[in-house]
C-alpha cells in the first residue's frame, strides 16, 4: 500500500489540526492573523509536497496521483491562498476575525485535493463532502448578518440535495456494475455486450451532482444568492478553488471511467454548456449587485469550460485546464477590486457605487478594467486565450454550433462587462472608497499582472496542461 501518495493531504490535515489547537490555546489579540499566516504556510508546504511527488495509484485503488491531479491541486492551493490573503484584512474590518476561518478553509482545500485525486466513487464523495461541509460554514461565517446566514443555509440545503442525487447515482453505478473503482468502472462501461441502462442513469445522476458543484445551468439556482450573501473573500473562494476541484472531478469521471460512454453523454454536456453560456450572458445584464454579476459571469464561464469536455479530445481537456487557470486569476483580481469597495467603514456592493473610481483610484480602476476586458475575452488579455483554446478544440472535432454560440454569448457578455467600465469612468463620481489595505493591493496587482501578461510567456502553463490532459486520457 503506497500511503505516501497522500502526503500533501496528510500534511494539510495535520497542519490544520495543529493550527486549530494553536488557535484555541493561544488567545492573543491577533491569533486570527497568526492562524491565517500559518495556514498560508501550510498551503505552501502542501504545494511543495505536490510538486515533489511521483505518481501512482494507492490505498487499494482509492487514490491516484498523476500530472492531472497535481495540476489541479496546485491551482486549488493558489486560489485558496489568494482568497486567504484577501480575507485577513477583510475579516478584521468586518469584525469577525476568528481563527476558525483559515482552519475551515484549510480543511475545505484538503477535501478538494482529495477530490482531485479520487479514483473511486467513494473517495470522490468523501472529498466532496469534506469540501462542501466547510464551505457551508464559511458561507454563513458572518453569523450576525442575515444574508450571510441565508447564504449558508441555502447552500447547505441545495447542496445536500445535490449530494443526495450524487450518492443515488453512485449507488446505481455500484449496483449495476458491482464496483466503484474507476478502472473497473471503465471496463464495465466498455462492455461490448452493451451497458445496462441502470449504469447510464447512475452516471447521469453523478453528472447532475457534479454540475451542481460547478453551478452549471440548470443546477445554478444557488449561485447568485450564495455569492451575494457570503462574505466577499468567501465568495472569491467559492468562485475559484471549489470550481476547479469540481470541474477537475467532472473531467476525470467523464473521461476516465465513463470515457467509453462520452459520445452518448456528449449531447447532455453540450446542452448544459449552451444553457450555461446563454443564461450567464443574458441574466447578468439586469444585475445591479456586482457580486451577483460575478455569479452569473461564473456560470457563463463554466459553460465555456464545458465546451472542452464536450469535445472530449486532448486539446479539449487541455483547453479546459488552461481556462481554469486563467479564470481563477482573473476572478481573484476582480474580487480584490470588489473587496476594496468600502465607504466610511461600510461594505458596498452596487455596481453604481463604482462610479468615479477612474478618478479616485486610477490603479484599482485600471486593474478592474483589465479584468473586465479579460472576462469579456478581449484579445491579448488572458481571457481571450482561454476562450481561443476551447473554441479551437471544438472546431477541430467539428462542433461548429457550439463554437459559434460561444462566440455570440461572449459578445453579449462583453456588454455588461463594459458597462461596469463605463460606470467607473464616465458616470457622475461619488465619494472615494476607504483606503485599501496592502494585502488587497498585493493580490490585485499579482492577479492583474498575470491576467495582462499571460500572452508573453504562456508556454509553461500550456505545457503543464498538455501533460495533465495526456495523463488523463492515458
Amino acid at each position: 500500500m503506497n500511503w505516501q501518495l497522500a502526503w500533501p493531504e496528510i500534511a494539510l490535515a495535520v497542519c490544520g489540526m495543529a493550527i486549530l489547537i494553536f488557535g484555541v490555546l493561544w488567545k492573543g489579540r491577533s491569533n486570527a492573523f497568526a492562524c491565517s499566516m500559518l495556514t498560508a504556510g501550510a498551503f505552501l508546504l502542501a504545494a511543495l509536497l505536490v510538486l515533489s511527488q511521483g505518481g501512482g495509484l494507492g490505498y487499494n485503488g482509492l487514490f491516484v496521483v498523476d500530472p492531472f491531479s497535481s495540476y489541479l491541486k496546485l491551482l486549488i492551493l493558489a486560489g485558496a491562498a489568494l482568497s486567504l490573503i484577501l480575507s485577513v484584512d477583510w475579516n478584521e474590518r468586518e469584525g469577525f476575525q476568528r481563527f476558525e476561518f483559515p482552519v475551515l478553509m484549510l480543511f475545505s482545500v484538503t477535501g478538494m485535493m482529495v477530490m482531485a485525486s479520487a479514483s473511486n466513487l467513494m473517495t470522490l464523495y468523501m472529498g466532496l463532502e469534506l469540501q462542501s461541509l466547510a464551505l457551508y460554514v464559511l458561507a454563513a461565517f458572518n453569523r450576525d448578518d442575515a444574508r450571510s446566514s441565508e447564504a449558508g443555509l441555502k447552500y447547505f440545503v441545495l447542496s445536500a440535495l445535490a449530494s443526495g442525487l450524487l450518492l443515488y447515482g453512485i449507488s446505481l453505478c455500484y449496483g449495476f456494475s458491482g464496483t466503484m473503482n474507476f478502472a473497473d468502472l471503465a471496463k464495465a462501461a466498455a462492455n461490448p455486450a452493451g451497458v445496462s441502462p441502470g449504469l447510464i442513469v447512475g452516471i447521469v445522476f453523478v453528472l447532475v451532482g457534479l454540475a451542481f458543484k460547478i453551478s452549471a445551468v440548470p443546477f445554478h439556482m444557488w449561485t447568485p444568492d450564495v455569492y451575494e450573501g457570503a462574505p466577499t473573500p468567501v465568495t472569491l473562494f467559492f468562485a475559484t478553488s471549489p470550481k476547479v476541484a469540481a470541474m477537475g472531478l467532472l473531467l476525470r469521471v467523464m473521461v476516465g471511467p465513463f470515457g467509453h460512454l462520452l459520445p452518448q453523454l456528449q449531447s447532455l454536456i453540450v446542452l448544459i454548456s449552451i444553457a450555461s453560456m446563454v443564461l450567464g450572458a443574458l441574466a447578468a445584464i439586469g444585475q445591479t449587485n456586482i457580486k451577483r454579476l460575478m455569479a452569473y459571469s461564473s456560470i457563463g464561464h463554466m459553460g465555456y469550460a464545458l465546451i472542452g469536455l464536450a469535445a472530449g479530445t486532448t486539446e479539449g481537456i487541455r483547453g479546459v485546464l488552461i481556462y481554469l487557470v486563467i479564470y481563477v486569476f482573473m476572478t481573484v483580481a476582480t474580487f480584490a477590486g470588489i473587496g476594496a469597495m468600502r465607504r466610511n467603514g461600510r461594505t458596498i456592493e452596487k455596481i453604481s457605487d463604482l462610479a468615479g473610481l477612474g478618478r479616485n483610484d486610477p490603479m484599482l480602476a485600471l486593474i478592474l478594467v483589465i479584468c473586465m476586458f479579460s472576462l469579456a475575452g478581449i484579445p491579448l488579455l488572458s481571457g481571450f486565450f482561454a476562450k481561443l483554446y476551447i473554441f479551437l478544440a471544438a472546431v477541430q472535432v467539428g462542433m461548429w454550433t457550439l463554437a459559434v454560440i460561444g462566440v455570440l454569448t461572449s459578445v453579449i457578455g462583453a456588454f455588461y462587462y463594459i458597462r461596469v467600465i463605463k460606470v467607473m469612468y464616465f458616470d457622475q463620481p461619488e465619494a472615494p472608497f476607504d483606503r485599501r489595505p496592502a494585502s488587497l493591493s498585493f493580490v490585485a496587482v499579482a492577479a492583474g499582472l498575470f491576467t495582462t501578461f499571460f500572452f508573453v510567456f504562456p508556454a509553461p502553463i500550456i505545457g503543464a496542461a498538455q501533460v495533465a490532459a495526456k495523463a488523463l486520457l492515458g
Partner: protein, 240 residues
Amino acid sequence: MIASIAFYVFAAILLVSAAMVVTARNPVHSVLFLILSFFNAAALFLLAGAEFLAMILVIVYVGAVAVLFLFVVMMLDVNFAELRGGFQRYLPVGATVGAVLFVELALVLGGWQIAPDAGQLRFAPQPPDVHNTAALGRLIYTDYVLLFQIAGLVLMVAMIGAIVLTLRERKTSRHQSIAAQVGRDVRDTLELVNMPLGVGVSEFYRPLVEQPPPLHSDQPVIAHAGGGHGDGGHHAAEKR
C-alpha cells in the same frame, strides 16, 4: 420459516412507520415513528446476519441522533400545518417530477439481472468462522483507512462549524474556577477566635477584607461588622 415471517413483519412495520413519519400531524409523533423505523431496520440487519450494524444503528441513530431530534422538535414551536401549506401549490410539479423518476426507475429495474449466485450470498455475507464485526474492522482499518480518516475529518469540520456558528462567549456569565475552589485553604475563609465572656462580637471582630468606611460618621458603627452575626453582637453590646 420463522426468519422469513420475522422478515415480513419487520419490513411491514418499517414501511408503515416510515410512511407515518411523513404523514403524522404531530412532529413529536413523527420522530417517534422514525425511531420505530430505525428499530425495524436494525432488526432487518440482524436477520441478514449483520449484528454489528444492527447494534450500531440502534446506538448511534436511536440512542443519540434521534434523542437530539426529539429534543429539538419538542423545544421548537414549529407549525407544521403551515409549512405544509405550499403542498397543494407545488403538487403538480412535484408529482410530474416524481412520475418521471418513477418511470425511469421502472426502466432501470427492468434491466436488472439477478446474479445466479446471489441467492447463496444473501443472508450469509461472510464465511461462518469470521464474526462480521471482525470482518468489518479488518476492511475499515486496512483497505478503506483513507476514507475512514476523511470521514473523521468531515465530522471534525462539522464540529468546528457548529461551534463557530453558535458559540457566543458571554461577558456576563461567571465561570467557576475549580482550581481556585479546591486550592482554598481553611485559613482563607475561617478565623477561630477565643471569645471572652460578656464582650460583644463587634468589639472583637476584625474583618479580613477592608470594609468601606461608614457614610455617616455620627451614626453608631454598624457597617464594619459585615454580617448578621456582627450586627447582633453590636446591638447586644449597646444594650449593655
